[in-house]
Amino acid sequence: MIDTDAVRGDFPILERRINGRRLAFLDSAASSQKPVQVLDAMADIYRNSYANVHRGAYTLSHEATEAYEEARHKVAVFLNAASDEEIVFTRSATAAMNLFAYGWGLNNLKPGDRILTSVMEHHANIVPWHIIARHTGAELRYMELNDGFRLDMEGARDRFDERVKVVAVSGMSNVLGTMPPVNEIARLAHEVGAVLLVDGAQLVPHAPVDVQTLGADFLGFSGHKMLGPTGIGVLWGRRALLESMEPAEGGGEMIRDVRLYESDWAEVPHKFEAGTPPFVEAIGLGAAVDYLSAIGMDNVLQHDRELTGYALERLAGVPGLSIQGPADTVDRGGAISFDLEGIHAHDVATILDQEGVAVRAGHHCAKPLLRSLGLTASTRASFYVYNVPAEVDALVDALGVARRIFGLDGA
């Protein structure tokens, strides 16, 4: 159980009124709000301990470096990583996916090899593979969905063969909420000798993740969807694989030695962190990890599930509304996408905004998925630790307003 009154008190933005209404922020799948603990941690560094990391032999630089590496340790503990060195800081989940695609994919794939992903992926787990496939001659293959908006594992089985060298799949769809069986996918991938990357942009903020049992070899996610700041992401990887992987960027910080015509890389994780890293943001992420750990990720998942269950039940009562995603809360996260017959998603979002309800409208950076569902846009409500059932009620009431304005309520 989450004490939502206490949690909400930590998020100053939730006090805001939007168009005269109390804000119901239902777009955490796009980016979450930030508690004062995160804002304070970042302000504290800027005010008291700011200097570049891993550089100067003076007090401020030492303090900033300590705080940065402490944040890495917090993330490692949060994921139950084997060591802090398995945590590579990037600027985003997208950057983490690209680091893997370029660092691993570009150097390990050749013509005839296959990259296996799924139709429910975010563009960040599709477009890098388009680029890598073009560079290497490898081919991209997809796992499909079944009628229940879950990955069709039966149909996917014969796509796992020795040509597949990398499997890249989301741990939780940002559109459907679907949480695919990562363990089973890992087993299939490893049986054919493939490496498994999990896009954890939605999974890591919303469910307990233990990389020792997840089955993945790499995991990418961002800070800003899990109460942390923008500009920080993480690529976790098994140490041996990280060590065998080439850097995707060169520059300061990532080298052991630089001569005129060649250079040697630093040890992991630093060889992947060229340039001044977003260390204040990393420290902010560390504070977010502390905040989530204090709540407990089991409680976070449970809270999201309860709200999702309530929302699924209430939304089922809205005439003309169809949900794209599993109808129950089993292996499902708190992102609910829907189509309201007769009203385009952008119109829905504009009307909801006037009622103080913030939702996402559009293709959710998953155009192949929406196309496969026969849609060009949908509306998505998503939940996090600070959301309450009354906000689900506000959503349902505002959908009623939308139907009235469009003359669909039969009155």
């Binding site: 168009n19 385009h344 998603a345 952008h346 119109d347 009307i351 409208a361 293709h363 929406l370 304005i405």
Partner: protein, 151 residues
């Protein structure tokens, strides 16, 4: 910001019953427009004869604002000369710009107000994120005219 300013009945009518929604078999000026961020898509097909648009088809999909704007645009430009259409386009975009309140065509009581039904879209200006939806068909129309190829 009243929602009634945005969703005028005439807009909803054009959205539900779009005019000129047809594929032109013998178009000689065609363009496709889209808003990559929101996925709205519009296709404008024109038959230009003797310097006039003698037939127009506006197809696509998207929100009520982009689709109603395209429907009304078709009615407004059909049978007009290219020169008049360019003037109309300028007036429409002027109406949609935040600081365009003094442009002719904004106020029905004002001389030179020729936008007709299109003036119902004025309310969109109060919703800045939706202005690009209203402009999409017009930008696509301009492109189609630029793509005109006489036989």
């Amino acid at each position: 910001m009243a929602l009634e300013d945005l969703y005028r009945e005439v807009i909803l009518d054009h959205y539900r019953n779009p005019r000129n929604r047809q594929a032109l078999g013998r178009a000689n000026a065609v363009a496709d427009g889209s808003n990559p961020l929101c996925g709205d898509e519009v296709r404008v097909e024109l038959l230009i004869e003797g310097g006039e648009v003698t037939a127009i088809g506006v197809t696509g999909h998207g929100c009520s604002i982009s689709q109603a704007s395209g429907s009304m645009m078709g009615d407004a430009v059909k049978g007009r000369s290219i020169e008049t259409i360019r003037t109309l386009t300028g007036r429409f975009k002027g109406m949609m710009s935040i600081d365009g309140a003094d442009e002719p065509g904004l106020d029905p009581s004002r001389p030179g107000a020729v936008l007709g039904d299109l003036e119902a879209l004025q309310g969109v200006r109060k919703f800045p994120v939706r202005i690009k939806c209203a402009n999409l068909p017009w930008t696509t129309l301009e492109e189609a005219i630029n793509n005109f190829k006489a036989d």
